[in-house]
C-alpha cells in the first residue's frame, strides 16, 4: 500500500527532516509511527498526503508514484485517504453533521446517500445523538471522534492519524485506538503517528521508530 524508497526531505537550508527512509506497508496493515516530536513523523505523513514532495527518493501509495501526479490529480488522490489530525480541524461554523458530510460534499455524493453514510459514520464513533450539535459544544474527546468520523465517512482505503490522542486522557486514548483497530479489521490500512509509547506497546502492532529523521527501528507485530 505504501512504499518509501530512499526518501529524504530537506526544508530550506536546514538539516534534513527525513533521511534515507525505506519501508513498505502492506494493504490492510495497521502500524504505528513513533519518535520524539521533531523526529519527522509529521513530515512523513505529509509526504504520504502529498502535501509535500520528497527532496530525494520516491513515495508510492496504492501503486501510484506521488511525484508523477499532476497538480489537478492531487485532490482526487487525497479523497482516497482519510486523515485524523491532532487538533481535529473541525469547522466551527457548522454542525457535527455538516462537518462529517464535508468529504462527501466535496465528492458530490447525492444528499440522501450522503446523509445515510454520515449517520453510519457517526453511529460508528458513538456520537449519532450529537449530529445537530456544534463542535464548540463538544468535549475534546468527542471532537476527536467527529474528526475520525469525517476521516472514514467516504470509506478510504488508507487512514492516517497524526497524534490523534495527543490531548486525551488514557481512557479516551484507548477508546480512540480501539476505533482504529475496528476500521483496520474491515480492511482499511491504518497508520498512526503517536509518541504515546505505553499505549503503543500495549496494542501489539507493527511500529516504525524515527529518530532525528532516520528510521531506527521497524518492529513487526508481536
Amino acid at each position: 500500500m505504501i512504499v518509501f524508497e530512499h526518501v529524504g526531505k530537506r526544508y530550506g537550508g536546514r538539516s534534513e527532516a527525513l533521511a534515507d527512509i525505506n519501508f513498505r506497508v502492506g494493504r490492510g496493515e495497521m502500524l504505528f509511527l513513533t519518535g520524539h516530536s521533531g523526529a519527522g513523523k509529521s513530515s512523513l505523513l505529509r509526504l504520504i498526503m502529498r502535501l509535500e514532495k520528497p527532496s530525494r527518493g520516491r513515495v508510492l501509495v496504492a501503486g501510484h508514484d506521488l511525484d508523477r501526479f499532476h497538480l489537478s490529480q492531487i485532490p482526487y488522490y487525497r479523497r482516497q485517504i482519510g486523515v485524523v489530525f491532532q487538533d481535529h480541524q473541525l469547522l466551527f461554523d457548522r454542525s457535527v453533521f455538516a462537518n462529517v458530510a464535508l468529504p462527501l460534499e466535496i465528492q458530490g455524493v447525492e444528499p440522501r446517500e450522503s446523509a445515510r453514510r454520515v449517520r453510519a459514520a457517526l453511529d460508528k464513533v458513538g456520537l449519532l445523538y450529537r449530529e445537530t450539535a456544534l463542535p464548540i459544544e463538544l468535549s475534546s474527546g468527542e471532537r476527536q471522534r467527529i474528526g475520525i468520523a469525517r476521516a472514514v465517512v467516504n470509506k478510504p482505503s488508507l487512514l492516517l492519524a497524526d497524534e490523534p490522542t495527543g490531548n486525551l486522557d488514557p481512557q479516551l486514548s484507548a477508546d480512540i485506538m480501539r476505533l482504529f483497530e475496528d476500521f483496520n479489521r474491515i480492511g482499511t490500512t491504518v497508520m498512526v503517528a503517536s509518541h504515546d509509547l505505553a499505549l503503543i506497546t500495549r496494542l501489539r502492532h507493527r511500529v516504525l521508530r524515527l529518530r532525528e529523521g532516520r528510521l531506527v527501528g521497524d518492529e513487526e507485530a508481536a
Binding site: 485532490p75 487525497r78 486523515v83 480541524q89 466535496i106 447525492e110 482505503s157
Partner: protein, 330 residues
C-alpha cells in the same frame, strides 16, 4: 475497496462499463449543478448576514459604474443631436448682384441640377432684405437705403453631409456662371464632431479606469473573505477539494457584489436623470431645441447589470487565484 452494486447491472456484465460511466457522468453533472446552486445561495446568505458592509461594497461599485455609464448616455444623446444638426448643414450660394430676375431663376435652376444636391431654395434679394430686417432689427437703418444691397441667394442642401463632400460641392457650385460666392459654415459642426469624439474616448478611458476600480474593490473584499475562511479552505484542501470547489463560493460572492452594484448604479442613474431633466429641458428650450435626457431603458439596464456582474466575478477570480496560492495546509 468494495463497491456494492444495487441491481440489474450485476446481471449484465457486458454492458456494465458503459452504463456505469454514463451514470457516473450524469451524477457528476448533477453533483456539479447541486454544488453551484448551493454555493450561489450560500454566498448570497453570507452577504445578507452582514448587510451594511455588503451594501457599502455594492455602493462603491455602483459609484464607479455611474460616471462612465452616465457619460455614455450623455454621449448617446449628443449623437442624436448630431444627426439633427446634419440636416442643417447647408451651402449658401450668393449670386451676382448684377443678374436680373429671370437670369437669377436660371442660375438657381442650374444649381438645383448639380449632382449631389438634395434641394435648393431661392431667396431673392427682396426676400433676403425682408428676412434681414426682421432678424436683425435694423428696420429703420435699412429703410433709409436707396437700393437693396443684398444679393439673391440659393440655400443648397447637400445630399452628402460629410464635411469634405460639402466642401467639394461648394467649390463646384462656385464655378457655376452667375455665382458670386458659395459659403459653407462647417467649422462649428466639425468642432462639435471633434468634441463628441473626444467625449467618446474620454468615456472609454473612464470606463476602463473605473472598471479596474470595480475589480479592485471586489478583489479586496474577496481577499478579506478568503482570509477569514482560511481554516475552512485548508481543511477542504486536505480532504480532497479541487481548486474549482474552493473558488466557487467566492466567485459567486463576487458576482453578487457586482450585480448589487449594477442595480444600485441603475437606481443612481435614474435618480440623477430625474434630478437633472428639468433644467436640461429648460436649457435646450432656451436654444429652441427639443431635447430630453435619455434613459437607460431595459436593454441598457440589463447590459449594465451583466457587465457589473461579470466584473465582480472576474475581480473575485483574480483575488481568489492570487490568494489560494498562498494558502497551504499546515
Amino acid at each position: 475497496m468494495t463497491r456494492r452494486t444495487t441491481s440489474p447491472e450485476g446481471q449484465r456484465p457486458a454492458r456494465r462499463g458503459a452504463r456505469a460511466s454514463q451514470v457516473g457522468l450524469e451524477s457528476r453533472t448533477r453533483a456539479w449543478l447541486r454544488h453551484h446552486r448551493a454555493m450561489c445561495l450560500d454566498s448570497a446568505r453570507r452577504l445578507a448576514k452582514r448587510p451594511l458592509s455588503s451594501l457599502l461594497t455594492m455602493l462603491a461599485i455602483a459609484i464607479a459604474l455611474v460616471l462612465p455609464s452616465g457619460l455614455w448616455l450623455a454621449l448617446d444623446s449628443a449623437r442624436l443631436l448630431d444627426a439633427e444638426l446634419d440636416e442643417s448643414a447647408t451651402v449658401t450660394v450668393y449670386l451676382d448682384t448684377r443678374l436680373d430676375e429671370s437670369a437669377t431663376m436660371d442660375v438657381a435652376a442650374r444649381l438645383r441640377d448639380q449632382a449631389p444636391v438634395a434641394g435648393a431654395r431661392l431667396v431673392t434679394a427682396a426676400e433676403g432684405l425682408a428676412e434681414f430686417q426682421q432678424g436683425v432689427g435694423l428696420k429703420d437703418a435699412l429703410a433709409s437705403l436707396e437700393d437693396n444691397p443684398l444679393p439673391a441667394a440659393v440655400v443648397v442642401t447637400p445630399a452628402d453631409t460629410d464635411p469634405d463632400a460639402v466642401r467639394v460641392l461648394a467649390s463646384n457650385l462656385e464655378a457655376v456662371d452667375g455665382v458670386d460666392e458659395a459659403r459653407v459654415d462647417l467649422a462649428w459642426l466639425e468642432r462639435l464632431r471633434r468634441l463628441a469624439e473626444l467625449g467618446q474616448r474620454l468615456t472609454l478611458a473612464l470606463a476602463g479606469l473605473f472598471g479596474l476600480g470595480v475589480l479592485l474593490v471586489v478583489g479586496n473584499t474577496i481577499r478579506l473573505a478568503v482570509e477569514s475562511r482560511r481554516q475552512e479552505i485548508e481543511v477542504v484542501t486536505l480532504i480532497g477539494a479541487t481548486h474549482a470547489f474552493v473558488r466557487r463560493p467566492f466567485l459567486y460572492s463576487g458576482a453578487w457584489y457586482g450585480l448589487g452594484g449594477g442595480v444600485l448604479a441603475i437606481v443612481l442613474l435614474t435618480l440623477g436623470g430625474h434630478w437633472l431633466s428639468a433644467p436640461v429641458t429648460a436649457l435646450a428650450e432656451s436654444y429652441g431645441a427639443h431635447f430630453t435626457l435619455p434613459r437607460l431603458g431595459l436593454g441598457g439596464s440589463v447590459l449594465l447589470c451583466f457587465c457589473s456582474t461579470l466584473l465582480g466575478w472576474l475581480g473575485a477570480w483574480l483575488a481568489v487565484g492570487r490568494h489560494l496560492a498562498d494558502i497551504k495546509p499546515r
